[in-house]
């Protein structure tokens, strides 16, 4: 019989009346608590920041309008970070999302100016992103090149491509179709509650990502590849396919981000769009508790991470902190948040 049974047996026979199943049950419960704490992750930090900014800005933070702005601002980064979550879960990284975003936005805007094809700009942008992402994935999965180098290479090369697309100028289209996704809002209760479309899209992306990661076979395979690549291979998982998929998703979502940005700005510029967005996306993912070595993390954490970044940017401007100090404070808050998280997890593990 199992140990547990054995120990139970002896326990009852010996001294303590310690119920046999109890220890295991307690353990499971403790595990579950820890998992919830982990999933909740940075939420306390986020709330703390929000409340802090609300107080310091004389109550300007928690206004419907400002919340709308914050979520809208977080939308593009959320979408990129969702894709990044897939990649980082496999233990990889995608530095090229900013450049892909720029290239996709350019491609979309250029198409949008053709009278007949105009409406196709959205799928074109998303597809452009997907193609670049799949290229990344193919190089990484099939040639077995390190993700950092491949996506650093495409960070540079795709940026060049984005600039070439627009001949190094800003492409502008004030009457771009579906512009509402960039600046409109979905009205739930007329005049009272409305959600910016950008945020609706971001939430949908998070939801679908969650479904894929947690409710599909593919999701388990993604976690498995990140957890132990050779074990995954031995279990017959097509690791190469998983890798191409995650980089493809990251690219596709960068393309979507490009489309969102284009609809928001009515314009795109190969050089001035998406610069160093990859850092924000990675930061959101890591703030959200996803581990760099792969295999551990959740998409909800990423959402919280992206919101923290947006709240920081918005809040610091709201309370009138100068640009220079914004740098300093942002850097310290990021480190502080992770330190706090580490401390919090330790505490919960101890109890």
């Amino acid at each position: 019989m199992p140990e547990n049974g054995a120990s139970a047996k002896t326990a009852s026979a010996k001294t303590a009346p310690a119920t046999p199943g109890l220890a295991a049950a307690q353990e499971t419960k403790r595990q579950r608590t820890r998992m919830i704490i982990r999933a909740v992750g940075m939420l306390p930090v986020l709330l703390l920041l929000c409340i802090g900014f609300h107080v310091l800005s004389d109550g300007r933070f928690f206004t419907g309008q400002n919340i709308g702005i914050v979520v809208q601002q977080s939308a593009v980064n959320t979408v990129l970070a969702a894709g990044m979550t897939f990649v980082i879960l496999t233990g990889g990284i995608d530095l090229s999302v900013g450049s892909i975003l720029a290239a996709s936005a350019m491609a979309g805007l250029i198409i949008s100016k053709f009278p007949d094809l105009g409406a196709l700009w959205l799928p074109v942008a998303v597809l452009t992103g997907a193609v670049f992402g799949i290229l990344n994935g193919a190089l990484i999965a099939l040639l077995r090149l390190p993700p950092f180098i491949v996506t650093l290479g495409s960070l540079t090369a795709v940026r060049g491509a984005a600039r070439l697309l627009g001949a190094d100028t800003t492409v502008f289209n004030p009457s771009i179709p579906y512009a509402f996704i960039g600046n409109g809002a979905l009205t739930l209760i007329p005049g009272v509650v409305s959600i910016p479309w950008l945020w609706v899209i971001a939430l949908l992306v998070i939801l679908v990502s969650w479904l894929v990661l947690k409710r599909t076979v593919l999701g388990v395979h993604i976690y498995a590849v990140g957890g132990n690549e050779s074990a995954a291979r031995l279990a017959g998982i097509k690791v190469w396919a998983v890798l191409i998929f995650v980089y493809g998703v990251s690219g596709l979502l960068a393309g979507l981000g490009g489309a969102m940005q284009a609809a928001r700005l009515y314009a795109a510029n190969g050089l001035q769009l998406g610069q160093s967005y990859e850092l924000d996306a990675i930061t959101a993912v890591i703030l959200g508790g996803t581990s760099f070595v792969g295999g551990i993390g959740s998409i909800w954490g990423t959402l919280v991470g992206a919101l923290i970044i947006a709240v920081l940017s918005n809040g610091l401007i709201l309370i009138g902190v100068s640009d220079v100090w914004q740098y300093v404070i942002k850097g310290l808050v990021i480190i502080g948040a992770v330190a706090l998280d580490r401390y919090r997890l330790q505490g919960s593990a101890r109890t």
């Binding site: 054995a6 047996k9 002896t10 026979a13 599909t216 498995a224």
Partner: protein, 506 residues
């Protein structure tokens, strides 16, 4: 006899310039347990990985199943051919649950969505059959080595195959679990499965094997039928010579009783280890036995400061010492051999030279930090010669060595330190008979020289063979101990203590 279910003919495999297998033949019949033996690095695992589809054989090799030639392309191919395997190197994803690992690569889904509940329910019976004390939802990261081994076994059994390969499945199991596994294996044999069983433990081969095939240096030496299975015959086939006096025990603590060197007093970590006390004397070899998950490894970790202690203290030569890190343990004269040599012991990408010298580099260094490379090379060469480590030279990466040789490299590092106290956690795990006897004689010599040795082992014959005294742990407590006296230690008594059944008898 019935038709063979599996025939491997002229199977060869090269890794770049290295020929791991040369024209090996293997025939297996349904309803038999076929033991595969050979020294470390003989090619047993490689042969099995070819069968499972993890490796592709060199051209010219042939595999037939039920008389039909088959091509096994990748792990899926192996599975499709009805082959299930327990790999020697644990191949689980630690971030996934037990159920997810067992179903990995063949998940159940309904309407595109993962059927988690169905999967968890599906693994319940097999876990119960193995006597696992964890649930399907448990994360593998939270399991001990032994428990992980059970997960591997569960996975292979769950695959419902016709040919079951077990590559050293009991290395992390203790006697109780092993017995349960054997019963299961016999039952599967009765159901008509063909089982290929790899082990370095002779007693297991006696107990289970219907036939034995021996490999040496990648070539087939020959097979023995049930009636011919005898230790000396197998060992001769494996090693090419006789290995006399397996368990070596020349030292005698009774003749010259040493002073207590290591004393753990009522130590615990508040979780797995609850108030354990033990002493080890100089020149004594003490065994620490127990079931998997009894907390032996944790106890050792507490002593060497690898895990935080919440109660009790450690005394060395009568003085209370504070050890908070493994480094401080080394300074205090305690060296520890980990049970998980890949994850916690070796630096696989570093040379054997560096691996052997790592702990004493500082001591040897010139001008407070410059490496003394001659001294290091000298020491490594001495270790190679002394322990019979087989590698081209001391400069090859440790990762390229076979399991047994890796173990000896790790052991060399500890011996280089010249510790007062040596704690060995599963020192012969995955090590072939030749190397095992060498390790036993090293332990014996150390004890003779006055070192206090604590051996944690799940291999009861080993504990009985080399220890002067055995301490048995159960569920985080010291359940009892027994001294080797006029009568040898008995396996039954140890098991009784480990499982607690003696209480019932009393």
């Amino acid at each position: 006899m019935s038709e063979p279910i599996l025939e491997m003919r002229r199977v060869s495999k090269s890794f770049f310039s290295i020929k791991a297998l040369r024209d090996v033949d293997l025939t297996v019949y349904p309803g038999e347990i076929h033991a595969l033996m050979g020294e470390n690095g003989a090619g047993k695992s490689t042969l099995m990985k070819i069968l499972s589809g993890a490796y592709r054989p060199d051209p010219g090799s042939e595999i037939r199943i039920d008389g039909q030639p088959v091509q096994i392309n990748g792990p899926h191919g192996g599975r499709a051919a009805g082959i299930a395997i327990i790999y020697q190197e644990l191949s689980l994803a630690p971030n996934l649950s037990v159920a997810e690992n067992i179903y990995l690569g063949r998940e159940v889904s309904r309407g595109g969505l993962l059927a988690r509940e169905a999967m968890q329910a599906g693994v319940g019976p097999i876990l119960a059959r193995l006597g696992a004390d964890f649930t399907p939802q448990t994360l593998v990261a939270n399991l001990s080595m032994g428990q992980r081994q059970l997960v591997e076994i569960a996975r292979a059994l769950h695959a419902r195959s016709r040919i079951l390969i077990m590559d050293e499945p009991t290395t992390a199991l203790s006697a109780g679990e092993s017995e349960r596994l054997f019963a299961l294996i016999r039952q599967l044999r009765a159901e008509g499965l063909a089982i290929i069983y790899i082990s370095h433990r002779m007693d297991e081969v006696y107990a289970l094997g219907d036939r034995v095939t021996v490999l040496r240096d990648g070539t087939l030496v020959g097979s023995l039928d049930k009636g011919e299975i005898r230790a000396d015959a197998i060992v001769r086939m494996m090693v090419g010579r006789d290995v006399s006096s397996f368990y070596k025990k020349d030292h005698d603590p009774q003749a010259r009783p040493g002073a207590p060197v290591l004393a753990a007093v009522d130590i615990g970590d508040g979780r797995r280890v609850k108030g354990c006390s033990l002493t080890v004397h100089s020149g004594e070899v003490v065994g620490l036995a127990g079931l998997i998950g009894a907390g032996r490894t944790e106890l050792a970790h507490l002593i060497i400061g690898a895990a935080p202690m919440t109660s009790g203290h450690v005394e060395i030569e009568g003085r209370t010492v504070s050890i908070r890190t493994p480094g401080e343990a080394l300074d205090a004269g305690i060296a520890y051999l980990t049970e998980d040599r890949k994850a916690l012991g070796l630096f696989l990408d570093m040379s054997c030279l560096d691996n052997i010298n790592l702990a004493v580099l500082g001591r040897d260094a010139k001008f407070g930090g410059i490496l003394d490379r001659d001294k290091a090379r000298e020491r490594a060469k001495r270790a190679f010669a002394g322990l019979g480590i087989r590698a081209a030279n001391v400069g090859v990466p440790a990762g390229g060595l076979s399991g047994g040789n890796q173990q000896k490299v790790l052991l060399s590092r500890l011996l280089a330190i010249g510790p007062k106290i040596l704690i060995l956690d599963e020192p012969t795990r995955g090590v072939d008979v030749g190397a095992k006897s060498e390790i036993y004689s090293i332990i014996d010599n150390l004890a003779k020289a006055g070192t206090a040795v604590l051996v944690i082992s799940s291999d009861l014959p080993e504990i009985i063979g080399i220890c002067d005294r055995v301490i048995v742990m159960r569920a985080g407590h010291i359940a009892g101990q027994m001294r080797r006296g006029a009568t040898p230690l008995s396996q039954e008594e140890i098991m009784a203590l480990a499982t607690g059944t003696e209480q019932l008898d009393a």
